[in-house]
């Protein structure tokens, strides 16, 4: 951490370092999410008033922590009801011990030190909350975005978003959702739920208008979970997957048009993100989970010097393993593509036929689009064009329709040249 004498810069840095810790520990001691967030906001406001006058404190983060805790304690004292007496006691104890370095941690019954930030992440992503509420709480309370920012990202009114946040906090209180890291027996499922929220926000970023900011915020969240749970492999897998996808951001969308992986300008890929993703998947020694496998898939593409160099045998093997863990139709489609590339288009079409009746694929453009590709590679151009026409009818976005139309034009001109 570099030191700065500029009050607003120092405040921004202290908030970036400490906001989440302070909020997370105040939620534990006060059981009040709004109070915890307000106390930090108040402390920041105070800093803006006093630091320019008195100078930036020697340890801005510690100042912020103490001020927020005192502020929370004041509010609780003033409320003064029986119910808050307990919270006051907790907050007071916390205040007493605050500056020792374990200020934001509490010893669990097992004697293991648990970071409050981890409690916050697990509670915000509890499966008893509706998915949109998990997403909203994670962005607002964990990532620290404003209600207006979160509302903008999801294209809803600010009032709608604050209602959603309010309802989520109410359910946590009413249904007694515990502020706790789940027990070991529940941990795999609950960790999956946390990672699913992060990945959903990330993919939403690419589908919606707020792409770069949302993607970067979620990568930050991914890093946080990796730091907080260093013994778990799937958070690293998810972070690697997001970095690998984000590395292609500048090559993926050119002049508002989607460019397929095959045709992307590889010099526009972000090498630093790719390197980081690679190093995250280097740690071996366990059975890879779905996120790790997807990261390795993305990286196999990213490592090829050009599309023709792609190691399709490896991709096929990875999809076999992923399909065994997640036998979903979308994974099946990708596996069929990989088989088509690694073995032969005919084999790929056979794999595709096994999925053809899947109810989840009905009405989606994906099946005919993939079939068209395999047919084209097999030289069955007329049938391929027919399939592209079906895909065009079903494609949900203008970008996708444009891309399919371009492929259709390409294919028809190829066939007339024969």
């Amino acid at each position: 951490m570099s030191k700065t004498d500029d009050p607003s810069e120092a405040l921004a840095q202290a908030l970036a370092d400490q906001r989440l810790r302070i909020v997370a520990s105040l939620i534990r001691t006060t059981h009040d999410w709004d109070l915890a967030e307000d106390a930090v906001a108040d402390a920041a406001e105070r800093a803006l008033l006093t630091w320019p006058r008195d100078g930036v404190p020697r340890n801005p983060a510690a100042w912020l922590t103490t001020t927020a805790q005192r502020r929370a304690l004041d509010v609780i004292r003033r409320a003064g009801t029986e119910r808050t007496k307990l919270a006051e006691l907790g907050a007071q104890q916390q205040l007493d011990g605050q500056l020792d370095e374990l200020g934001d941690r509490e010893r669990e019954e097992t004697g293991v030190l648990i970071d409050d930030r981890l409690r916050l992440v697990f509670t915000a992503c509890h499966p008893a909350l509706p998915m949109d509420a998990r997403v909203a709480l994670t962005l607002k309370v964990v990532a620290g975005l404003s209600t207006a920012e979160v509302a903008r990202m999801f294209l809803v009114e600010e009032a709608t978003m604050s209602q959603r946040l309010l309802r989520a906090k109410r359910k946590i209180a009413h249904a007694a959702i515990p502020y706790r890291v789940p027990e070991a027996s529940d941990l795999p499922e609950r960790l999956d739920a946390v990672l699913a929220v992060i990945y959903l926000v990330f993919t939403q970023g690419y589908a919606g208008a707020a792409a770069p900011q949302l993607a970067e915020e979620t990568i930050r969240l991914g890093r946080l979970v990796v730091d907080l749970m260093p013994d778990e492999d799937e958070p690293r897998g998810l972070l690697a997957l997001m970095l690998a996808q984000h590395a292609r951001r500048d090559a993926r969308l050119v002049d508002g048009k989607l460019v397929t992986l095959e045709d992307q300008d590889r010099s526009r890929w972000d090498r630093q993100s790719i390197e980081e993703a690679l190093s995250l998947t280097m740690l071996v020694g366990r059975v890879p989970g779905p996120y790790r496998l997807q990261a390795e898939l993305a990286l196999t593409h990213l490592r090829a010097a050009d599309a023709a160099e792609t190691d399709w045998r490896r991709i096929e093997r990875l999809y076999d393993r992923l399909y065994a863990l997640q036998p979903t139709p979308v994974v099946g489609l990708n596996r069929a593509v990989a088989i088509g590339m690694a073995q032969s288009p005919a084999r790929g079409l056979m794999a595709l036929d096994q999925l053809a009746d899947h109810p989840a694929l009905r009405g989606l453009h994906l099946l005919p689009a993939v079939r068209a590709d395999l047919l084209a590679r097999a030289g069955r151009t007329t049938e391929a064009v027919e399939q592209l026409d079906r895909a065009l009818e079903l494609a949900p976005t203008e970008q996708e329709r444009e891309q399919l139309a371009r492929r259709r034009t390409h294919l028809s001109s190829d066939s007339s040249a024969d």
Partner: protein, 111 residues
């Protein structure tokens, strides 16, 4: 006895008002507590505070709220005393009906 809301009933519509006047639930409770008819009861929170628990092929599924897709038949009830929602979910997941039916957890308005 199960108490339910009728979504088609409009309390603000004067034509739907009870001609005998609005009844007070506290009067009803004290009357039938005294008579030894009512043994226990409480008000539960609304649907948005509910959590559903099912177990299918050994897999636990926890979801927000009640399922609203189809008509459902209530076949019983249990009153649980739990430290928090996670404990209630664990208890519910061990109920045989979690595997074939569905358990809906509703917190009481007051403890």
């Amino acid at each position: 006895m199960l108490v339910t809301l009728d979504p088609s009933h409009d309390a603000d519509d004067p034509s739907s008002a009870d001609p005998t006047g609005t009844l007070d639930v506290d009067d009803w409770v004290s009357k039938y507590d005294a008579a030894g008819v009512r043994l226990m009861g409480n008000q539960v929170r609304m649907a948005e505070d509910a959590t559903s628990v099912t177990r299918r092929r050994g897999e636990l599924l926890v979801t927000d709220g009640p399922y609203a897709e189809s008509r459902e038949w209530i076949v019983g009830f249990d009153v649980l005393q739990c430290a928090d929602l996670d404990e209630a979910i664990r208890v519910a997941s061990e109920h045989p009906m979690a595997a074939s039916g569905r358990l809906e957890l509703r917190p009481f308005v007051e403890d």
